[in-house]
Symmetry: C2
Subunit: 457 residues, 2 copies
């Protein structure tokens, strides 16, 4: 089907766009914060019902955690395209920084504001809309079968998806997969990541006392807060180098092709550093002083303090020796670092540094993953992206974030591409998350074209 053949598809999308924004609003009005176990069952039901209303056979699978919704729509060819998405969202705290309440979706200035508006409920609605639009122009039958896999634990590192895919490999057999998120760069053209970083999430806990003590005893009683500060300060210094012995052992250096692609991105967007500064108000950067180094540094694995707390954090002062202290860390890992191996090295390092008293707990993990740039599905995604957006997509060898892509790519042996409704400033994971309605429209158009082409690759 040539691009001209998409007139009817595009007309359908435009005629029904408001309806899809309404459906997205309904989905976002249902909180589904996996980290806080808030509204998960209700949201899974909502998603399954939504898929049924749009003609899919939908079923929920128990995982021991939040259920996974799997839905199928048959098509003409024997080929199957899998859409991976998630119905859970990040916590909305701090609520007071939102312009509109995060679970009361609000349209303003061509944007829908809500937690999940982009990540990932916006993507779910875009895919459903693309299926509807293409079916309408194909006499009701899609050119290929479609499989939706929508999990509820992506924002807590997908602890069950890898085992689920393994246990249901037959049911999930497919010829290609479209990842949960996608979108456009500042130049208005889509970004196609070929790799994601892995992640290891750890909670550290120190207890030195059975209860807080008056700080007049600080010359006697050990402080949990100080123990935590000292333990953390052994992990990484101001030079940003992670000091856990062997941490970098399996970290692959970028290939020449990777570097060429990254340098190409830097050339394409010489304003990258300035754009980040405008978004985040930061004075300096962690690494590098020009765009090339900033792009290249994605191959540097990181250790982030996601949160930490000890003692009294309220107004004014309370003079105590705190009995407990807590930190949540995440390590973003590059190919071929393994989260479990890093966890062991972290424990050994703390022990060796005299911090046997610092307790550790794994909160989640994912492995890194990389795709073949020459796969036909990758090429189809690039070509259709060019058609919808009018320019050349950016191919990114590795992105900063993480995903359970490894579970699909490795277990099902399928290529995984991305196409979606995001842009560079969606405020994912942050207050005022939103999706631009124009991006929603283009994302639907792109997915519809991938679906159309996939039947005949």
């Amino acid at each position: 089907m040539a691009d001209a053949g998409f007139d009817r598809v595009d007309a359908y999308i435009d005629a029904h766009l408001e309806h899809y924004v309404d459906e997205l609003s309904q989905l976002c009005a249902q909180p589904s914060v996996s980290a806080q176990d808030w509204g998960m069952g209700e949201c899974a039901d909502l998603v399954a019902d939504l898929l049924r209303r749009h003609g899919a056979e939908a079923e929920q699978f128990e995982t021991g955690g939040n259920p996974i919704v799997v839905a199928r729509i048959g098509g003409r060819s024997d080929r199957t395209l899998l859409f991976y998405n998630h119905y859970d969202v990040q916590p909305a705290d701090p609520f007071d920084l939102w312009t509109h309440p995060p679970f009361e979706p609000t349209v303003r200035d061509g944007k829908l504001f809500a937690r999940g508006a982009r990540d990932d409920k916006g993507e779910i609605i875009a895919r459903i809309a693309a299926v509807d639009a293409l079916a309408d122009s194909c006499g009701g039958q899609l050119p290929c079968s479609v499989l939706f896999v929508i999990e509820g634990e992506e924002e807590i590192s997908s602890p069950h998806i890898a085992a689920f895919v393994q246990d249901h490999a037959d049911m999930l057999r497919c010829d290609g997969a479209v990842w949960e998120e996608g979108g456009i760069a500042r130049d208005g053209n889509p970004v196609l990541p070929l790799g994601v970083r892995g992640i290891l999430e750890v909670e550290l806990m120190v207890r030195t006392l059975s209860r807080d003590a008056h700080s007049g005893t600080a010359h006697l009683l050990p402080s949990a807060a100080w123990r935590l500060v000292w333990a953390l300060s052994t992990l990484k210094g101001p030079d940003e180098r992670i000091r856990i012995p062997g941490f970098y052992e399996y970290a692959l250096a970028p290939s020449e092709q990777d570097l060429a692609l990254l340098d190409g991105l830097a050339e394409r967007n010489p304003q990258f550093a300035e754009q980040l500064r405008r978004l985040y108000g930061n004075r300096g950067f962690v690494a590098g002083h020009d765009n090339r180094d900033l792009q290249r540094s994605v191959f540097t694995p990181t250790c982030s303090i996601d949160g930490m707390g000890s003692g009294y954090q309220g107004q004014g002062s309370k003079t105590i020796v705190p009995s407990t202290a807590m930190a949540k860390l995440d390590f973003r890992l590059v190919p071929d670092q393994d989260p479990h191996e890093i966890y062991g090295k972290l424990r050994r390092h703390l022990d060796d540094q005299g911090f046997q008293d610092v307790e550790m707990r794994m909160l989640g993990w994912m492995r890194p993953a990389r795709m073949d740039p020459d796969d036909p599905l990758v090429r189809l995604t690039v070509r259709t992206g060019r058609e919808v957006y009018g320019g050349e997509p950016s191919i990114v060898p590795l992105i900063g974030g993480s995903s359970p892509a490894y579970a699909f790519a490795e277990t099902l042996g399928t290529p995984v591409v991305t196409a979606g409704v995001g842009y560079w400033d969606n405020c994912d994971h942050a207050p005022d998350e939103h999706v631009r309605i124009a991006d929603l429209r283009n994302g639907i158009r792109h997915i519809a074209r991938i679906l159309a082409g996939f039947g005949s690759i």
Copy 2:
């Protein structure tokens, strides 16, 4: 008046003890958390009314902060004894660790549980009761005048008391002062501190970003949490030595007499370390391995992290680069360290270490203070303590805590002693704060005897 002459006083105390417990409960039921500006005006009114009901002329003085209640009861001699107390209390957080709600006073097992039950509402009631009991046995007229000074900002480092005492030195002229707190050691006999440490309270704040970022950008964007950890780790290492240049410059070493008194305390209570361990469940101590070193270490100034916080501290995980991080510190200072001088040295140290981006704010300060062991009021307090409790009071050259005693001792040129209702396990500043009713009774008896003797020193 010999001890036998106190039969009527003691009988009065026993007959009215339940009534004073009721008055204490009413006072504790009124929250008055100065750090959170909660119930301060209401509590000041309550205290002034209480004093008036007990025959005092009471007046409230505005300070720019919480009002100070001053009350006077005339006596036979021209001598005046000043009682310094405070009606504010520490925050009650974390509420869920209290066996009974902190502002619903509850009597159980001979103890009254409530925030402020000991610190310092219990002390206020004990003094009022002692005045009542002595007046009853003296035909309604006390042997000396009594001046109550009850402030509302002691738990936030008494920012206004020093200036208030200076501005009202004539009104507050007195011949001796009894400090806001006192009580008994494990041997059942009173403790008489001759010195208190000073304090400097500081809040550190780091802002690296205008908003939290996805931790997939941790290789690019600077983390406020890491900046704070690194800044804190330059202040003190696991050797507990404070690394701010010049920090120890004006810290006096203990004199031979100080050391002899401290070693005497260690001999008197060889179980001190074990008692702390039982109270706080700590495995080790900050300094020293035997009781003598633990006692002596009070002359070591400290740096405590009272609280710190950054990023996401809720359930599960949220993967971000936090934009802000905060820590509250207190430094307990020994004679002759000066809080303002230390504040300047802290700022210079952070700057020199490359932490110009760490913002600082002084939350409060107090100077250290020391008393003359040979003052007649000190001797009277020791003698009457012996009479009430039956054994030898412990004289402590310096205690771990801080107080605005310097404001009275220096400005009014008066000796300051302590006598009160505490014991070693009141849970001051912690959940389940309480006073033992037997201690309340003895504290009242002791204060009554000091008052009786003070008229004829």
